[in-house]
Symmetry: C2
DNA sequence: TTGCGGTTGATATGATATAACATTGCGGGT
DNA sequence: ACCCGCAATGTTATATCATATCAACCGCAA
C-alpha cells in the first residue's frame, strides 16, 4: 500500500495511484488541480528524493522559464491541502505518501542517498506541551541517518 | 533548574549559570571559548526569542560591522558542541538550556510571541526506523503553537 | 626561526523565499 | 452581451539565509 523508497518496489504504481487519489480528492473538495499544480506533484512523485523549489522551477522550464513564485505557489497549494510535505531540515519538498488520510507526518532522511521515507509516528511532544500549558498546532519530526542500503554500503 | 521562557522566572540566573557551565565545559574539553563565541552565546541567552544569524551579526556590530561567516562560525561552534541548538523551522538559533547534559532536544515554538522552550521528549521515531532498517543519527522535533500567555490573550 | 593548526577578517556569491503589482480566464448576475 | 469579482498566473525586484575562498593573525612547539 504505502510507498517505501528505501526498498525496491513498483514505483510507477505508487505514482499513478497517488495522482489519481489527488485528482479524486480535489474533485470532491472543489479544489482546482490545475496543470502547474499537477505537474509539480508529478515531478515530486517521480523524483527519487526531495526537491527544492528551484529544482522544480528548473524542471518546469520546459514550458519556458518561470519565476520563483510559480513554484512556491504550487507547493503551497500541495502542502496546505496535504498532498505534499515540506522538509524543514532540507528546505525541500516531497509528495505525500497517503494523501487524504489524516496523519501526523514524520520523515526518515538518508544523508547518503537523499531518499526520504514518510513514517508513522506517535505524538511525542504532547506530554511536554501539556506540562507547560502549550497548545500544539503542528509538529515537525525529521530523522537524519542512513537507509538500509547506504548503511550496508558504508560497512 | 531549567529555564522556562513561557513563565516568569529569574532569567538573569539562568543566563549566568549557563555561561558559567559552558566556561567550565570548554575548559574541561580543551575547547577555545573565544570572545566572539562567548558574546554570541551571551546574546542568545539574553534574547527572549530565537535569533537568526543576521540578528546576531547586527548585535555584534558594536565592535564594527562583521561579515556573515563570523556569526555562522560562532554558531557552528556552539551548535556542534551542544551549547546551542538550531531551529530548522525558523532558521534561527537558541542557547541550550542544559549544556553538558546528553539530551535529545525538542522545542515548543510560540507562533505569537516567538518564544521557544526546550522540552524533553521520547524517541518516537525509533520504532518506525527499526521497521524500515533505518539508522537514526539525529532527529529534529519542533512543535509550533501557542504558549499559555498567548493562548489566554487570544481568547 | 620556522612551520603548523585554529581562529578571524573580508569579499563575493550562491541558495532559498516573498513582496508587490499587472494580467488572464472563468463563472455569475443583470 | 456586459460587467464584476475572484482565483490563478506572470513578472520584476528584493529580502533573507548560507557558504566558498583566500588572506591575515596568533599561540605554540619542533
Amino acid at each position: 500500500m504505502s510507498c517505501d523508497p528505501f526498498h525496491r518496489h513498483d514505483h510507477a504504481a505508487c505514482h499513478d495511484r497517488t495522482l489519481a487519489a489527488v485528482d479524486a480528492l480535489c474533485a470532491e473538495r472543489g479544489l482546482q488541480f490545475t496543470p502547474t499544480r499537477r505537474e509539480v506533484l508529478d515531478l515530486l512523485l517521480r523524483a527519487p528524493k526531495a526537491l527544492g523549489a528551484y529544482d522544480i522551477l528548473a524542471q518546469l522550464a520546459g514550458d519556458g522559464a518561470k519565476a520563483p513564485p510559480v513554484a512556491y505557489r504550487a507547493l503551497d497549494f500541495l502542502v496546505s491541502n496535504g498532498f505534499a510535505h515540506r522538509l524543514e531540515k532540507l528546505n525541500a519538498y516531497v509528495a505525500c505518501a497517503h494523501p487524504g488520510d489524516a496523519h501526523l507526518p514524520a520523515f526518515l532522511i538518508c544523508r547518503a542517498c537523499d531518499r526520504v521515507a514518510e513514517a508513522d509516528a506517535p505524538r511525542p511532544l504532547n506530554k511536554a506541551a501539556r506540562e507547560q500549558g502549550f497548545t500544539i498546532e503542528g509538529v515537525v519530526m525529521e530523522a537524519v541517518g542512513l537507509c538500509p542500503a547506504c548503511a550496508d554500503a558504508a560497512e
